[in-house]
Symmetry: C2
Subunit: 452 residues, 2 copies
Amino acid sequence: MTQKTTPRILSGFMELLPEDQLVFERMRKIIAETYESFGFVELDTPVLELSEILLAKAGGETEKQIYRFTKGDTDMCMRFDLTVPLSRYVAQHQNELSFPFRRYQIGKSYRGERPQRGRFREFYQADIDIIGSENLSILYDAEIPSIIYRVLTKLGLKRFHIRMNNRKLLQGFYEEIGLTEQSAEILRIIDKTDKIGEDNVRLCLLDLGLKADKIAKVLELAGLKGSIADVLAQLDSFGIQNALFKEGLSELKTVTDALNDMGVPESHLKIDLRITRGLDYYTGTVYETFADDFPKWGSICSGGRYDNLSGYYTDRKLPGVGMSIGLTRFFDVLKSQNLLNKGAKTPAAVLVIPMSANESRAALKVGTILRQEGIKTEVYGVDTKFKNKLSYANKIGVPYVVILGENEVAANTAVLKDMAKGEQQTVGQDKLAPTIRLMHKLEPILPVIKDC
Amino acid sequence: MTQKTTPRILSGFMELLPEDQLVFERMRKIIAETYESFGFVELDTPVLELSEILLAKAGGETEKQIYRFTKGDTDMCMRFDLTVPLSRYVAQHQNELSFPFRRYQIGKSYRGERPQRGRFREFYQADIDIIGSENLSILYDAEIPSIIYRVLTKLGLKRFHIRMNNRKLLQGFYEEIGLTEQSAEILRIIDKTDKIGEDNVRLCLLDLGLKADKIAKVLELAGLKGSIADVLAQLDSFGIQNALFKEGLSELKTVTDALNDMGVPESHLKIDLRITRGLDYYTGTVYETFADDFPKWGSICSGGRYDNLSGYYTDRKLPGVGMSIGLTRFFDVLKSQNLLNKGAKTPAAVLVIPMSANESRAALKVGTILRQEGIKTEVYGVDTKFKNKLSYANKIGVPYVVILGENEVAANTAVLKDMAKGEQQTVGQDKLAPTIRLMHKLEPILPVIKDC
């Protein structure tokens, strides 16, 4: 035989073994099903796009990281997020879509970043966006955090907070105190408070040329604390007449009221006036989400309201609101902290084992019947010692084994073994499906995430 | 505003509007669920691989079509199928996997082919493979066509045939008549019969230097027709003692017997001694699948048995059997022939419409309750005329609309409208979920494929 090539993957790419892959899939499915329960339709855009399209907006760091190449005369890129393709899709198909257009996409994006712990060059994002034509009701801004709440709760995360803010409110406040021109820069600085600390924020604001009394006011606003009602009351008490401030405050009230109507408990919500999302892209409501016990994870999902999705491709104004879960990164964090509830290495509920080759055909028949009854079933086909057959069942972690020997086949019965309990019973073949269904139904369904 | 970039995608790439995307997703889900019902575990390998790995085997046409590029010092490719990555994965993780290893993968692959009708540069394949260590029972060869049968039946395809053959049987036959050396070439020629016709096959065999009497024998074997039992009896009647022929014949018998045990009706099976799959990669059982009414589609899914999955990466012998559905191409064929049963443009079963902004908060509450009852629900948030609200419901094709006006909110009721029937009734809000569940349950579930 020729020299072998050592099998390996590119560095910075995630690849999972079956046990982890099945947990990842459960996670992906829970997210997709929750998005669909709110009526979002799945989109699937190409991974490759024309460079001219994908780079209409990009620049700086992002552009350097892009996988870009030519084939023939065509200059193309692998997508680096799901937002630019959405922006292109909605502009391209605007006359065929109904607005508000609600789409979700769970797909891979690519960035050739310097490999480091927790950073991947191929990564899943799970995005939802609601796009309006010309305008979009503020009520949709409340829908997004209610979806975040449902998704994380269904994944099994218990202690987390969705932090919300409104950029109009901040901008209006800066206008009010005469800082209109510095507004965008202040928003970027304030957003870094968690990373660099309040002292450094103060220095940055000084650097920007702000006077001490203005800095005090900026920090006073950023530092407001308390329940949602408390913070709203404090904001009201400022008595600010600036129109933008008032609009932002009114939006924040509407969003928090609507979240209450949608059954999101206040224990998971917070107004945090330091969350600004930095980017100029966002124009109103903004969100970030943190696990209470793991502040170092950073935001699990983030998003916000934007005025214009597709300005690079169309004159039509397409405002929207959305958010994104960095799925690969979130999974990696949970895995590395041993917070995943792992299960079997197979989706099958049953492994049918013939004692010898003589019972193989009977095993195929029983497997077919179980599948027709909706039970995921694998039939073991290797002719080996019984010990090896059971050892395979243990390795793949299948919950039930059905054993067929000469006597069982003659009597149309089977031995049904509960692998977790180690108990077994002889059951008529016609009673196998209902018996297994009942036993399987009684098993508790593990959440993806362990208690936290 | 600046000059706009015309939004468009690369040629040869498929992108769908919501209505088609939802059908595609139903198709993908049915395939995935059927694979899982047989206990296959989903894998998800990177789209990018090291060129050294991916091209260990490739050559000729395939290599020219590959999207290959360098970033930094790294020479990488986008995968062109799911088989080479599987081969690399199993070799790389062989000590962490349990054999037989059963995996499925539904993912995109990339080939920069010349764009033409029905050929895509980005395309989904839906693969299953069962990999043994050192050896793998012939019974697994029967499992594959039983899965093909279930998948296509669940998709709604009625009239199709899985055609089977065994390369050992053919090779043994050629050995028996003294054509051992020409065997591989004859297999390639015979495989083209459907494309080039029997007269051209005869010419090719003449070109190969075969004498007329040998050609007659080769064509006699290739032309055997009849029921499975008939063909097997004819093969038996040849009385050939060649060991490879006998092994192939015995395997074909075992596979067809087992398919019977697995409840696959003979109306969907055929022994076709002209199916050889061309490639040397296959070593035993081979399959192709054709729609009875659409022979021009070519094979919908194909596969077979191979002796050695990962010879380029490991000395360990890893025999396997598998098949692949060309999902993007199949979907495109069904779409272009108007054979898809299209449904709504939303996954939601219900759209909740508040008559005016006054009922918005009540609408959010009702939407939340319906979702908690497991009903996919969108709440309409745009403040516009009622006519426009209903028009949106019609456009997205949602089956039920729940309308909340001032009176309904006061009385804790809602107007429930069945959009297909145009009928409406007033229902207590606490009765909405059970009423909708019952109505929705009675709707027939459309198969993906129209009657054919």
